[in-house]
């Protein structure tokens, strides 16, 4: 069965990379369970699914990942997002709080994690995020940055 990572990497059932990926069923299943744990968790900690998908779409754009942009756009469309979440997804910075602070953090940690400082976490708390929300947001950011790198690597393996 084709999963989200295959789709992002452009793998079809008869692709050699599709079979090579299945040499590690624990990676295939593990990545999918991680995806569900950050996008559709049973307990969303107050960070709703449409917000999570909008942020994932924003990060796909920061990573210039066309396939993941399309995948998250489709998921977001199904959730009938508000205008402010659509703007967030598309990379807007003139947002109301706490979205502005969340967007700033997502951009920073995606593009230049090396620059992250203690004050960046303090900003999230000042914007009203509690500790479970700060951790859940961090895991979402980290996951999308994992996902886009696995997909990018698999895509590059195509050329021989």
């Amino acid at each position: 069965m084709i999963d989200a990572m295959d789709k992002a990497a452009g793998l079809s059932l008869n692709d050699a990379r599709f079979s090579a990926r299945r040499f590690r069923p624990e990676f295939v299943e593990g990545a999918e369970l991680c995806r569900l744990s950050v996008l559709t968790p049973a307990n969303d900690q107050g960070l709703a699914r449409d917000l999570r998908v909008a942020l994932a779409r924003r990060m796909a754009t920061l990573n210039a990942d066309e396939a993941l942009i399309a995948q998250y756009d489709a998921q977001l469309a199904e959730l009938d997002p508000s205008r402010r979440l659509s703007a967030l997804a598309e990379g807007a910075t003139d947002l109301a709080e706490p979205l502005a602070t969340i967007a700033r953090h997502v951009d920073l940690v995606t593009l230049s994690p090396i620059k992250a400082e203690e004050s960046d976490i303090a900003r999230l708390a000042e914007a009203g995020l509690n500790n479970p929300q700060i951790v859940a947001l961090s895991e979402l950011i980290a996951f999308v940055n994992f996902q886009t790198r696995v997909a990018a690597g698999l895509r590059l393996m195509r050329a021989r």
């Binding site: 050699a16 990379r17 090579a20 990926r21 040499f23 590690r24 624990e26 990676f27 593990g30 990545a31 369970l33 991680c34 569900l36 744990s37 950050v38 968790p41 049973a42 307990n43 900690q45 920061l62 990573n63 210039a64 990942d65 940690v109 995606t110 593009l111 230049s112 994690p113 090396i114 620059k115 992250a116 203690e118 960046d120 976490i121 303090a122 708390a125 500790n131 479970p132 700060i134 951790v135 859940a136 961090s138 895991e139 979402l140 950011i141 980290a142 996951f143 940055n145 994992f146 996902q147 886009t148 790198r149 696995v150 990018a152 690597g153 698999l154 590059l156 393996m157 195509r158 050329a159």
Partner: protein, 188 residues
């Protein structure tokens, strides 16, 4: 002759209050696999278990990527982790995986080359892995088909390359937790 770099372990402390075991929910305790009477659970675990679902899913995947049998050699996975951690600025992860690489290979040579920023002293295999790890870790990724060709030219098959992609990518994840949510200090 340059002297070799020997790294001392660092201790990690979070910027937010970790979960205290007496206040942990049954789901958090289950995620940490601890009993309420347990005393020692690291600050790292207790910080990430604020969100137990992602904690469990990520831990299972992380352990599979770094420790699964067969495929890419362990030191190569550690080198991928180290290259990513340097790009992403996670000193804590870099030291952990530099030390593990040195232990596994019984040599500080590769770690020394990376910490002294002398990648030209690496052998062809380590150079290809390090270069790919650096370039895939950029945001957006700067890796190209040439990087994959370099890995193939040192004898890596597709399964080993997929293992390496995962080792680098899972540190695109781990570094964004460890470096963002806390800081590393020497000593305790």
């Amino acid at each position: 002759m340059i002297s070799s770099v020997r790294l001392k372990p660092l201790t990690w402390h979070p910027y937010i209050a970790p979960v205290e075991l007496p206040q942990a929910t049954p789901e958090q305790l289950d995620a940490m696999k601890v009993t309420p009477s347990a005393k020692k659970v690291s600050e790292y675990v207790r910080t990430l278990v604020h969100d137990p679902e992602s904690y469990v899913a990520r831990t299972v995947l992380f352990n599979a990527i770094m420790y699964v049998e067969g495929g890419l050699a362990r030191p190569d996975r550690e080198l991928g982790a180290l290259g990513a951690s340097i790009v992403n600025g996670c000193k804590f992860c870099a030291v952990v995986h530099a030390r593990r690489h040195a232990e596994l290979t019984k040599s500080d040579d590769v770690v020394t080359a990376l910490y002294l920023e002398r990648p030209e002293t690496l052998g062809p295999r380590d150079a290809a892995i390090n270069s790919f790890a650096r370039r895939l870790s950029a945001a957006p990724s700067e890796a190209t088909a040439d990087d994959i060709n370099s890995l193939r030219s040192i004898g890596m098959d597709d399964i080993e390359i997929i293992d390496l992609i995962h080792a680098i990518s899972i540190f695109g994840w781990a570094n964004r937790l460890m470096h963002v949510l806390g800081h590393a200090e020497s000593g305790k």
